[in-house]
Symmetry: C2
Subunit: 229 residues, 2 copies
DNA sequence: CTTGTTATTATTCAAATGAATAATTAACAT
DNA sequence: ATGTTAATTATTCATTTGAATAATAACAAG
């Protein structure tokens, strides 16, 4: 719209003077990642544009290449950064749950799985962006996207499948696996779509708060997982 | 990979002679839509490329413009064509169901909703492409994507919500609405992801046939919809 | 101090891409 | 016959874009 020049900071070339403000180890690198995350979220991989990312991050475009290599590499790094965090949280949650009791409820398990990403979404604009990024990634058929998802998430998903399988001995494990896929679909979609969901509820606008919405989702999914095979 | 020239058919310019084979009203137009559908499915809106679509469809690139206008318009038309069909099938299925009985089972309703797209996916490569396209569209945050989805699907979704609400009087209607959103998420994701789902099932590869998989999904979702509020 | 390495910018390159225009030919109406 | 409209191609245009290179400054090591 506005004919903005989108020019990066007007710093002169060359290594910048060491900032004495402390604690800024590779500050720009992170800034790039943050803005890339946002860009990928709203525009998708193809739609995002390196010039704009660079400019918003306040760096020269070539710096992206310097740190990350290609656009695809940048995307991967974005994804790994938060994805790893997420997977980590899930592991921790499961550990805790199993510590407390050998047979947690299905609801507890589902909740433990969903909560980390839920929190991430509402923790910051970047958290929300990551959720969107992920939703898009799941819709992409490319082999590369698939590998990335697997790399980041497979281990934790498998652990949850095992745990669920133990809590639901009536349901064969391969059915649990399939249901876990349903679960992922429902929650990703939902998380990404929240806010638009109101449209379906005609007049009486859904006044669910986020927490209540999460509860609803957990209840729904737990019931599905429990369904007699 | 191969340095293919991707050149369109070598027809001379000018209006083509009327084909006497009968029934080819605007043959090329359809060919464009078919190939666009495939392209959008694998590459997404931004990733798809008009030159390639034209070449695969065997037409000159300018013909796309002639028929559809811009790239965005082409996308919309793709979406409306099949989306309308789908929505239509859903309406018909619901009509039939309500004719037979005033209180169909939740399973029947869910099945009636899902089956048309399921069939579409397996009817042809283009049907599958449309499913993928749709999954991607749902992950896009753009206002435009949202409007399109609403235009094509809202009416039928609302009818199903009403029907479900009648069959499940214990569950408040706005909770049904929300659960319907979960349902859409789960089935879209699943439909698009089928085939990769096997990866989660460790050794014992999911030998679910497509029909059995649909049954599984219906059972899962019906249980979720029924869950006590 | 000199020299090499790291982090950063300015500038250039080459390709891809959506859009637009002009040309051409068949069908159709009068 | 003839002029108009419809359908199609060939060609050109302007911009965007990811990538690459060259220049520059700070810092670290000897």
């Amino acid at each position: 719209m506005v004919e903005q020049k989108l020019k990066a900071k007007n710093r002169s070339p060359g290594r910048p003077p060491r900032a004495d403000t402390f604690g800024n180890a590779s500050d720009l690198r992170d800034s790039i990642l943050d803005h890339a995350e946002l860009a990928f979220a709203v525009a998708g991989f193809e739609g995002a544009n390196l010039r704009e990312i660079a400019s918003l991050a306040g760096v020269n475009q070539a710096l992206i290449r310097y740190y990350f290599g290609s656009k695809a590499d940048l995307f991967d790094e974005c994804f790994r950064r938060r994805g790893g965090l997420l997977a980590g949280h899930r592991h921790v949650n499961l550990d805790r749950l199993l510590e407390i009791s050998e047979n947690p409820s299905v609801e507890d398990l589902v909740y433990a799985y969903l909560k980390p990403q839920w929190d991430m979404k509402y923790s910051s604009p970047n958290g929300a962006a990551f959720v969107a990024m992920q939703a898009r990634l799941h819709a992409e058929p490319e082999e590369h996207a698939l590998r990335l998802r697997r790399e980041v998430y497979d281990a934790s998903v498998k652990r949850y499948i095992s745990a669920l399988s133990q809590v639901l001995p009536q349901v064969p494990k391969d059915i649990i696996s399939v249901r876990m896929a349903f679960l992922v679909g429902a929650y990703l979609f939902m998380l990404n779509d929240l806010g638009r969901i109101g449209d379906l509820t005609e007049g009486h606008l859904t006044s669910f708060g986020k927490d209540e919405m999460l509860d609803q989702l957990v209840r729904f999914l737990a019931a599905g997982l429990r369904a007699p095979a």
